[in-house]
């Protein structure tokens, strides 16, 4: 948001803040409500919950943190952040296809270790 505001301009913003506040509360109720609605697909349940959280976070960032009308230098900082955050999550998802074969539960026993009792799993 620009750093010079008229009284009326701010008053208009206050109405937006209240609308966003109500939307955030509704979003919270919907998120919790989803928990009680049994969906067969776990992936769909996760996708809906993350989608609602993303919408809520966007409302907070966009209006409470004024990102809908910020300066270019802040968008530049956030674009770099978004790039690295997306990269972090991409590496995480990539790794999900990699590590299960390396766990104790799925590893083949080493030659000569067949007689050894499997170690109990401690979560």
């Amino acid at each position: 948001m620009s750093d010079t505001h008229s009284h009326d301009h701010i008053a208009k913003h206050v109405r937006v803040y209240i609308t966003v506040f109500v939307a955030l509360l509704v979003g919270t109720v919907v998120t919790v409500g989803m928990y009680y609605v049994h969906l067969e697909s776990v992936a769909l349940t996760v996708a809906i919950a993350v989608f609602i959280a993303t919408v809520k976070a966007s409302l907070v960032a966009g209006f409470f943190m004024h990102l809908v009308s910020e300066k270019k230098s802040i968008y530049t900082v956030l674009a770099v952040t978004a790039f690295f955050f997306a990269g972090l999550m991409a590496i995480t998802i990539w790794a999900m296809h990699d590590f299960p074969d390396n766990t104790a539960d799925t590893q083949q026993p080493l030659p000569g270790a067949a007689a050894a009792a499997p170690a109990p799993h401690v979560p």
């Binding site: 750093d3 505001h5 009284h7 701010i10 008053a11 913003h13 206050v14 803040y17 209240i18 966003v20 506040f21 955030l24 509360l25 919270t28 998120t31 919790v32 989803m34 928990y35 009680y36 609605v37 049994h38 349940t45 996760v46 919950a49 993350v50 609602i52 959280a53 809520k56 976070a57 907070v60 960032a61 409470f64 943190m65 300066k71 270019k72 230098s73 802040i74 900082v77 956030l78 770099v80 952040t81 690295f84 955050f85 972090l88 999550m89 590496i91 995480t92 998802i93 790794a95 999900m96 590590f99 299960p100 766990t103 539960d105 109990p120 799993h121 401690v122 979560p123």
Partner: protein
């Protein structure tokens, strides 16, 4: 020496310096929490079936705490808007509500933690597992405690349901308060492992406490700054109102970020 660009906009960024500073800091915070979220994803996806606890947190309490943080977010932005409109009295009122919300959030979180510290899981030698409470609600007991205290047995009130057993979705909405079976005596010799719901219990509680404690530290830090600006720091309003308003905006940006992190933490840890 005067600090430059506390109110005046820099030519190159078109912002006052503190605003650039807080956004750079928040960018680093995104990566900090992002790394922990990615850890959560890997731990959860990599957990063998039945070993990643689910439904052990109190959803109504978590929902209430979410509403508390959302409320504090609007009072922070309303406090800033009040200063922009020259109403110092309203600023004081809104930030007082913010501080009460912060205190309320941390108090509720403390009680939630306490519930975990007195809640236990027992792994028996026969392969059965149960969750519940030990008579007297002791804190932080583990397998070693039984030996140290030379206890022959524990009196255990098992929960009606173990998290590894399937059940109707949503039935565990009250978490550990879902009811107890009759108390049973479990000989110490039959216990293979005993653990409270602490980080050592499982990777779930390890990441749960890491994420929520780090978030709670942010709430505490934000509340200290907001409290300072509400109390002794508020005298700047008389000498340099524009700079004071900018300070409130910057502290508010941090506070909204703390709210934003919780918006993701709540469904991830409590619901999914």
């Amino acid at each position: 020496m005067d600090i430059p660009y506390t109110t005046q906009l820099r030519e190159d960024t078109n912002l006052y310096n503190a605003k650039v500073g807080i956004w750079l800091f928040l960018a680093s915070e995104v990566m900090l929490f992002g790394a922990l979220f990615s850890s959560y994803i890997l731990l959860r996806v990599g957990a063998p079936p039945g070993t990643f606890p689910h439904g052990l947190l109190n959803i109504p309490i978590g929902t209430f705490n979410t509403a508390v943080l959302i409320t504090s977010s609007i009072t922070v932005v309303m406090a800033w808007a009040s200063l922009k409109m020259g109403n110092f009295g309203k600023f004081k009122l809104f930030q007082a509500i913010t501080l009460l919300c912060a205190l309320g959030f941390l108090t509720i979180k403390t009680f939630e933690y306490r519930d975990k510290f007195i809640h236990y899981e027992v792994w028996k030698n026969d392969g059965t597992r149960m969750t519940g409470h030990i008579e007297g609600n002791p804190w932080f007991w583990d397998t070693q405690t039984l030996k140290t205290k030379n206890l022959p047995a524990i009196t255990f009130s098992p929960d009606a349901h173990h998290y590894a057993e399937p059940r109707t979705h949503g039935a565990g909405a009250k978490g550990e308060h879902g009811g107890h079976g009759a108390a049973v005596q479990i000989p110490a010799a039959d216990i293979k492992r005993l653990s409270a719901f602490v980080p050592a219990h499982s990777t779930y509680f390890g990441i749960y406490f890491t994420l929520t404690a780090l978030h709670a530290l942010h709430v505490l830090g934000g509340a200290i700054v907001i409290g300072y600006l509400w109390g002794p720091g508020a005298k700047m309003w008389k000498t340099d109102p524009e700079r004071f308003t900018n300070r409130i905006e910057v502290s508010g940006l941090f506070w909204h970020f703390v709210d934003l992190v919780w918006i993701f933490l709540f469904p991830v840890l409590y619901l999914l």
